[in-house]
């Protein structure tokens, strides 16, 4: 408690992914600080599954994630904008098909 800022700096940031229930993917829910992976998992349990939000938790050290840069947004994402044939909008859905 005497040196919270210094202690905090020692603890890496972890990103938390929770699977809400079987059959769904893990989704990103937030981040937290923890001294190591096992403690990160336990902190995630306390912070993000208090209300039975999940059946499985992943934690990943934030530094291990390679993320796309906002600067590259134009070249990364805009070219997909006019390629409407990539969307499955040209199919007719037969009657009675659910979950499509």
């Amino acid at each position: 408690m005497s040196k919270p800022a210094a202690a905090r700096k020692d603890w890496p940031l972890w990103e938390v992914f929770v699977r809400a229930r079987r059959g769904l993917s893990h989704g990103h829910v937030g981040s937290l600080h923890a001294p190591d992976a096992q403690m990160a998992l336990r902190n995630a349990r306390d912070l993000y599954t208090r209300r039975q939000e999940g059946v499985s938790i992943w934690v990943v050290e934030a530094a291990s994630i390679t993320a796309s840069s906002p600067d590259e947004k134009d070249s990364f994402f805009d070219p997909a904008g006019d390629k409407i044939y990539r969307h499955p909008t040209f199919y007719t859905i037969p009657d009675g098909v659910e979950h499509l």
């Binding site: 937290l32 336990r42 902190n43």
Partner: protein
């Protein structure tokens, strides 16, 4: 083994308050009250960490553990009050009893100390509660069995949390090792009381209603030894062991704790929101 359910609803027998040999119902009430008081008093201590823990994440963890204990206390107090049949509900038992009427272990009431002391206490107490509730889940008393079956999952997590920290602090830096060992030294004089038996415990265990804490000593110490060895810590040697909590004889810390816990309820009797 006899069932107790038939005896729970016998206000006539509990009406005579000063009976020499306690009725079965009075024994169940007194037994439930001991377990309730342990949980209630330690919940109060855990609450003191809120907004004071070394990290926000740990703050939430300690608050969660405190709330688990408070939940156990509420169920047990309510049951103790109902079985005793003297019209005292959970609030009356928590807020309107005086120090001598509390039957918790000193282990639960002593001050939090630093984080290492808190973790040392949590390790010992949760290891004890794990063994206790695992057995109590098979109680012939259906209510106690149900409370224990729910609580055993909670205290298993408390034990894991304390274990993780004791391992890291014990087998961490020179400073963390020193302070973790010091934390153990601080709480160890209060450990043996946890396993102390008496007439109530033996009687309640014979009837299959409760657990004699003496039989928990082996499994609890064996768990603690495993953790301490892995954490490169030593189990402290202690010559003086505290006793008396089960008879309402408490340490100096208890009065201050109760003053803080009870003053609001006593200043505004019957208040609610």
């Amino acid at each position: 083994m006899t069932t107790t359910n038939s005896q729970d609803s016998s206000p006539a027998s509990t009406g005579a308050a000063a009976t020499v040999s306690p009725t079965p119902a009075a024994e169940v009430a007194a037994y439930a009250l001991r377990l309730a008081d342990d949980a209630l008093i330690l919940a109060q201590r855990m609450g003191e960490w809120i907004a004071a823990a070394p990290q926000l994440e740990e703050d939430v963890a300690l608050a969660n553990i405190g709330l688990d204990l408070l939940g156990q206390a509420r169920s047990l107090l309510t049951y103790a009050g109902a079985v005793a049949g003297r019209g005292r509900d959970e609030d009356a038992l928590a807020y309107l009893r005086d120090e001598r009427e509390f039957t918790n272990l000193a282990l639960c009431e002593i001050g939090n100390g630093d984080f290492a002391v808190t973790m040392a206490r949590m390790l010992v107490f949760s290891a004890y509660q794990c063994e206790l509730y695992a057995r109590l889940a098979a109680s012939t008393d259906e209510t106690l069995a149900a409370i224990a079956a729910k609580a055993v999952k909670e205290v298993d997590y408390h034990r894991d949390h304390a274990t993780q920290w004791v391992l890291r602090l014990g087998d961490g830096t020179e400073e963390s090792h020193r302070r973790m060992q010091a934390g153990l030294e601080t709480i160890w004089p209060y450990v043996e009381e946890t396993f102390e038996s008496d007439e109530l415990f033996t009687s309640i265990a014979e009837r299959g209603v409760g657990v004699d804490p003496a039989e928990l000593r082996g499994p609890v110490l064996s768990y603690l030894d495993r953790v301490l060895r892995q954490a490169t810590l030593n189990r402290p040697e202690t010559s003086k062991n505290h006793t008396g909590g089960r008879r309402g004889i408490h340490t100096e810390a208890m009065g201050y704790l109760l003053a803080e816990m009870q003053h609001l309820a006593r200043s505004h009797p019957g208040a609610s929101w």
